[in-house]
């Protein structure tokens, strides 16, 4: 009885779906695209609407695609869930593999001639290195078209090397955030600062109450120092502007340019100021040994008021913390220093890099570059912690308030987005001397020495 009802229900749904897709096909047929053979498994399925591009690749039933990423449990599940639609529409199955040793392992596998089909590469710098090995395959035209349609030009540029487009952007994160406790702020009558000077004035005000206003932690094992590099990048974007930032990242101006030194001194005004840091933990040098995951936690105890860290820091608040505009913690946009440069946003993201041009791999790349996938992914992440710069992403599909705020910032036409600079620099600097010297700088090295050392380590 029960099963019969279900079956009838399905039949009705199928009939409806056919109708819908027929309508969809009709419209695309009128466009004259007769390359679509209609043999793809998604043909006639309502849920595959919007993915007609996948028909180009035909029936991929039984095919597998290996996907290698740096995203591990529990964040891997939303990714895997968001691929179900792809399997429904093409018949191919992506196989997920995540590892915390992703960056080292990917290099080993590529060099040994055993690369995955697809890798989610989180740094443009690493993408360049990989392209240099000659093993990376250019993105198919469908992916290129989708990227033009759904992403800004800047994002496409991050996925390109020497003018060739390889990797479409996937997820994104916003780094220009300051975490704070809305409760603590309203209890004390503090306002969220709108300008850089307001923020410093607020810091002084808080410091006068005996609370150290800022807390930070830059310890991250072998990557110790990276949160401090983000600080410098964020401030440089605000003090010298995006153009100078770009020249600095591409080494058109030296790393120790006076403008960079000024920016770093500005950072030092906060991070190396004993009156301001390190709330709830210790003195300035304790920043160097505090795990970045723990850096903002004193906010919960009221021992610290502000913590500059990316949107993904949301995952670090203990279970049960209310992360929302009027909750226990939330974030505000790191204010600008002048109106001159718009609203600069520092951020990061991953890029879908392919090592094979098999049809199923290209179909999967195409799928990941669509607005359909971006919304699927948002819906598959009920706990939040994910956002994309894809303009087709409906902000309402994002689960958490902080993701929605990030999404709004990424889609804001006034925002001037810049990718994390250290992720674009050569590995010796971006994953080497930059991290190391910023750590030394926190523990006492002068601004000049730190920047000079990084400059001299830049590969010629």
């Amino acid at each position: 009885m029960r099963s019969r009802n279900t079956r009838r229900g399905l039949a009705v749904a199928a009939a409806l779906a056919t109708g819908l897709v027929l309508a969809g096909c009709a419209s695309s047929d009128s466009g004259g695209g007769d390359a679509v053979s209609g043999t793809w498994p998604g043909d006639g399925k309502a849920e595959c609407k919007g993915l007609e591009q996948l028909a180009d690749f035909g029936d991929l039933s039984g095919k597998e695609i290996s996907v290698y990423t740096s995203i591990v449990a529990p964040e891997d599940k939303p990714h895997i869930d968001s691929w179900k639609l792809f399997t429904t529409c093409t018949g191919a199955t992506p196989k997920y593999e995540g590892s915390k040793e992703f960056e080292t392992q990917l290099k080993v596998r590529v060099q040994a001639g055993n690369p995955p089909d697809i890798a989610y590469v989180p740094q443009p710098g690493l993408l360049q290195t990989l392209v240099g090995t000659g093993k990376v395959v250019e993105a198919p035209s469908q992916v290129s078209d989708n990227t033009d349609k759904w992403f800004g030009e800047d994002w496409k540029a991050y996925g390109s090397v020497d003018g060739k487009f390889y990797a479409a952007p996937l997820g994104a994160n916003v780094k220009s955030f300051v975490w704070y406790s809305p409760k603590m702020f309203s209890d004390n009558g503090w306002d969220v600062p709108k300008t850089w000077d307001d923020m410093l004035a607020l810091s002084d005000k808080i410091a006068a109450t005996g609370i150290k206003p800022w807390c930070a932690g830059i310890e991250s094992g072998e990557a110790t120092g990276w949160p401090a590099t983000d600080w410098l990048e964020d401030v440089l974007l605000r003090s010298a502007g995006p153009d100078v930032y770009d020249q600095w990242v591409s080494h058109d101006i030296p790393f120790n340019d006076p403008k960079v030194a000024d920016a770093l001194d500005e950072v030092g005004g906060i991070l190396k100021n004993d009156k301001y840091v390190n709330g709830g933990i210790g003195d300035v040098s304790s920043i160097a040994t505090t795990a970045f995951q723990d850096g903002g936690l004193p906010i919960l105890d009221g021992k610290c008021a502000m913590h500059r860290q990316a949107s993904f820091y949301a995952a670090n608040w203990p279970e049960g913390t209310d992360v929302s505009e009027n909750g226990d913690v939330f974030a505000f946009y790191l204010p600008t220093m002048s109106e001159e440069f718009g609203n600069p946003v520092l951020g990061g993201g991953e890029f879908v890099t392919a090592f094979s041009d098999r049809p199923e791999v290209q179909a999967f790349q195409t799928y990941l570059s669509t607005d359909v996938w971006a919304n699927e992914k948002a819906k598959a992440s009920p706990n939040g912690g994910w956002v994309s710069a894809n303009k087709g992403l409906d902000i309402n599909n994002l689960a958490s308030p902080i993701d929605q705020l990030s999404g709004e910032i990424l889609q804001d036409p006034n925002a001037v987005f810049r990718f994390d600079g250290s992720d674009q620099m050569p590995a010796e600097v971006g994953a080497g001397s930059f991290w190391k010297e910023m750590t030394n700088w926190i523990t006492g090295e002068s601004t000049k020495d730190a920047l000079d050392n990084i400059e001299s380590s830049w590969p010629s």
Binding site: E64, A73, S99, A112, G113, L297, A315, P318
Partner: protein
């Protein structure tokens, strides 16, 4: 391994309390003073505190772990099973799968290198052939080669083997992709295994071998009939160490294996989350991983000790 042969048990009991006159006990008494006992207790306590801290941490709720020391547990005990629950049931793949993979990887990766190393060590000690000493020293020195520099050359060989052999890695790997792991672990274990077993074997009295030779026994007979029983305990001893190393290995597993062959360590390494935010789960994970090696150690401990005893008796 768990079923105890009565003879062995008896031998073990004798080993622990030999004969009517426990000489070593008196030796120990002579050495031990209250200070000595105190020293032993201090070492034991100092060595255990970090592990104890981790153990207690594994039962504490996340918010407590970051806000107060684990020793406050004694005055304010709050026990939660949620960390273990998350570790055991937190993924789509059943943790049992990883346990099985760990076992399937570890058992051959212990048996094969030890067999090969025992054979080689025997030859290095008791057989005469040109280049013997040079070869032994070379193998000994190769212990220092960092596994990291071997990853790319070995993986290349596995993926694109010469002479059109079957590729051992990749999607169509034979044996579900385990061969690369067994082979790699074997290779990396051999130098140390040969070095250690050589040391134990060279302390077996030479007269034993000589008289057997005079009686007309060949090397194969001497090896299987005399050497193996004498060395069995030493072999078991190294076996436990090798078991530990392979069980705890992550690098070899993720380089040469794939998601289908991932052992427990690969799963546990991911527990802390992409940005390390769930690192408190590592404490529970560490104890889940610890169980099997500890069982192996505790159950074979007597054997382990007796083994080295027999192996290093001097004539």
């Amino acid at each position: 391994m768990t079923a105890t042969n009565p003879d062995v048990a008896e031998l073990g009991a004798q080993g622990a309390a030999p004969g009517p006159e426990p000489v070593s006990t008196s030796a120990r008494k002579a050495l031990s003073s209250p200070w000595a006992s105190l020293a032993a207790i201090v070492i034991a306590v100092v060595w255990t505190i970090p592990t104890l801290g981790l153990f207690i941490t594994s039962f504490r709720p996340e918010s407590d772990i970051t806000s107060s020391g684990w020793w406050t547990f004694f005055t304010n005990p709050t026990v939660t099973w949620s960390n273990y629950d998350e570790v055991l049931h937190g993924s789509d793949t059943n943790l049992v799968t990883y346990f099985v993979n760990s076992l399937v990887i570890t058992i051959p990766a212990v048996i094969i290198p030890i067999s090969l190393a025992t054979l080689a060590a025997y030859a290095f000690v008791w057989m005469k052939f040109p280049g013997r000493d040079f070869l032994f020293v070379a193998i000994f020195a190769l212990q220092i080669v960092p596994i990291q520099v071997t990853l790319i050359p070995l993986l290349k060989l596995y993926v694109h083997p010469p002479l059109n052999l079957v590729p051992l890695a990749g999607p169509d790997a034979p044996g579900g992709g385990f061969y690369t792991l067994w082979l790699s672990h074997t290779i990396f274990a051999l130098p140390l295994a040969i070095y250690l077993l050589h040391n134990f074997m060279s302390q077996i009295p030479g007269e034993l071998i000589e008289s057997a030779r005079v009686d007309g026994a060949g090397h194969v007979q001497i090896f299987t009939r005399i050497m193996l029983p004498l060395m069995a305990p030493a072999i078991a001893a190294f076996g436990i160490l090798q078991f530990l190393w392979v069980w705890n290995d992550l690098l070899v597993a993720i380089t040469f294996g794939g998601p289908n062959t991932f052992p427990l360590t690969a799963r546990l390494a991911e527990l802390s989350g992409t940005r390390g935010s769930d690192w408190f789960l590592l404490s529970a994970g560490a104890f889940v991983a610890l169980v099997v090696p500890l069982i192996v150690f505790v159950s074979l401990q007597r054997y382990f000790v007796r083994g080295l005893l027999a192996g290093s008796v001097k004539g």
